[in-house]
Subunit: 364 residues, 2 copies
């Protein structure tokens, strides 16, 4: 029997009981509100976890990269949304190849990418489904809601393409769930404008896809939504805690590190830095700190070098010595997982196995 | 013939002419000042580049992780410094195994790690060389300079151990090279104190190792230095430019990205975010921006999502369209390389091949 404390560090460890609870809980919410759940697998990039999500009631998966779509498809996932404005003849051909025997949907916000995907689909004898992306306030991708109809119309007549509907990402909403209603009502209005624009062209949105982890349990406030796409909810992280969308007990993934140096007074160095945690800043409060130490909340992860984590322990009564192990909740779990090829999973601290992060590093 | 513009993106591309010039230039400086050059290979994690560094006149290599030491050793590098306070019975055994047929040196700042390495060396019938680390101002690892003698003495009598000398990392010096002299004189004084403390125990420092890329060409200001350990100098990056230690023409590595969305006015989205560039902030100026666009310096890489780079192009006369390719100098090249399994190399834009980033993701 191996306990997580026995693992060589740094290591990322996932509590399966918490994962299952997180999956069950959101699946129940989605069912209650008649919403499809299509989680973004960028958070874990592990096909086995994607399958757990499907088993929990999800209707399909979301990915960001063509390579991630391939990894999920090879593992048997057969309903994949690539929520990215994929550009590139080679990438389009790879997606079209997948679409020959699976349901492949892509988000687009221009005719350039739509035409590339159309040509690839025709060449492969496949159909690719397209969602037209609207910008509902984040100002990243997506056309203005009033312009979605024109794009949808142009997309819908492309050969090899099935116009599937509308998509958006409300990533600009970063408030506690109890305070999100006004912003989500604005999003709902923008979505209504987009749908009206599309319907004015005689088209129907079979799918209206949106959502994030912070807004997950408020998804029903977007009236016309049919599908939600949270990613982080499977593990949660310090940012999710910070925005008030979970508690530390909902954080399934921890970084296990070992104290390697106590030579500098008031400081403790652990064996994980930005190449273990990722350099992502905390998005809440004073935006300081790089992780949370649940066992000793008075220790501050005040800085990260590439391979060193700097803990300020001056406020803590606990005296750490070299060799002590700590588990730390990272700021941004999606970025943290991306640093590791292996995730250990456990129940109650007893290691049950590990997953290969198969989709990791597939940048293209 | 493939040009870098023909590559699927995102891709990291390295200009071999610039790499060779960077290696030659610092090797000449080191020779001129009678210093050994032992570059930190965490920047690239590629054995072939480490070999180029050896051919340019370096005496050995530095790594941060046990796994990186193994990768370099397997590739034939036979003089490896693990500049990290390695803790862990398994890691110590792996390093001892390497030390049976190679010169392996480890930095220590405690007897806990030194004793572990000693036990492993004895068990393997090997000798591990230890450098005692002093803190000369960064407050990360290292004992106080006056205390190095006691640690060196205790280390020197451990079986399987050869006391090799002193090490330090002046990572706290972040000023233009022309303004570093006062800080480096302070470092030199601390180093003198440490050496005196060690010599008072009847021990000799065969090696006095230190240095960083920003201070590289001022290494001779630390009087007793015998060995310098810069990493970033092989590629350089926006931080190196920012601190005044190189120009954009010295930046060998660029991230090649493609414009994938122009739907939001004033914004352009490229197909690389934190999982392509790393989330490391710029360390200079207002600490804003995530990269430099050499061809269009008036474009600002103002934000990164995981897979989206947000360019503010409102100040630029250049009108980008979807499919346009850009090369961007990342803030922190060591962190950027760590996101990629493959580095393309070229001369004058003509691709000559690619390297596998063999040491990537070896977190333990």
């Amino acid at each position: 029997m191996t306990r997580i404390e026995d693992l060589e560090t740094p290591a990322i460890v996932v509590d399966l009981d918490i994962v299952e609870r997180n999956l069950r809980s959101l699946a129940a919410y989605a069912r209650e509100h008649g919403l499809n759940l299509r989680p973004h697998t960028k958070t874990h990039k592990v096909p086995a976890i994607a399958k757990m999500q499907i088993e929990s009631g999800c209707s399909g998966v979301t990915v960001a990269k063509t390579g991630e779509a391939e990894v999920m498809a090879q593992a048997g996932l057969d309903d994949i949304l690539v929520h990215y404005p994929v550009y590139g003849v080679e990438k389009a051909a790879r997606l079209a190849a997948l679409a020959r025997s699976r349901r492949v949907t892509v988000a687009v916000d221009s005719m350039v990418t739509a035409r590339q995907l159309s040509a690839a689909a025709v060449a492969a004898g496949a159909t690719i489904r397209l969602l037209v992306e609207a910008d509902v306030g984040m100002r990243r991708c997506g056309v203005a809601p009033k312009d979605t109809g024109a794009l949808a119309k142009a997309v819908s007549v492309l050969p090899g393409i099935h116009f599937q509907g509308l998509t958006f990402y409300p990533g600009h909403i970063w408030a506690p769930p109890s305070e999100q209603a006004p912003a989500l009502r604005q999003v709902s209005e923008q979505v209504d404008i987009a749908i009206a624009s599309i319907e004015a062209e005689g088209l129907k949105c079979e799918t209206v896809s949106g959502g994030s982890t912070p807004t997950a349990y408020n998804s029903h406030l977007v009236d016309r939504l049919t599908e939600m796409r949270p990613g982080t909810y499977v593990f949660n992280d310090r940012n999710t805690i910070g925005v008030g969308a979970c508690t530390v007990d909902d954080c399934a993934l921890r970084v296990m590190v070992t104290v390697v140096s106590t030579a500098v007074p008031g400081r403790v160095v652990v064996d994980g830095g930005t190449k273990t945690f990722a350099a992502d800043r905390w998005l809440s409060g004073e935006k300081t700190g790089f992780g949370l130490v649940p066992a000793y909340p008075d220790m501050r992860v005040e800085g990260l070098s590439e391979e060193h984590g700097h803990l300020d322990v001056s406020e803590s009564a606990k005296r750490l010595t070299i060799g002590d192990k700590l588990t730390i909740v990272p700021n941004h779990v999606c970025a943290c997982v991306n640093m590791h090829q292996q995730i250990w999973f456990h129940r109650g601290g007893v290691v049950e196995g590990s997953w290969n992060v198969a989709g990791r590093g597939l940048v293209r």
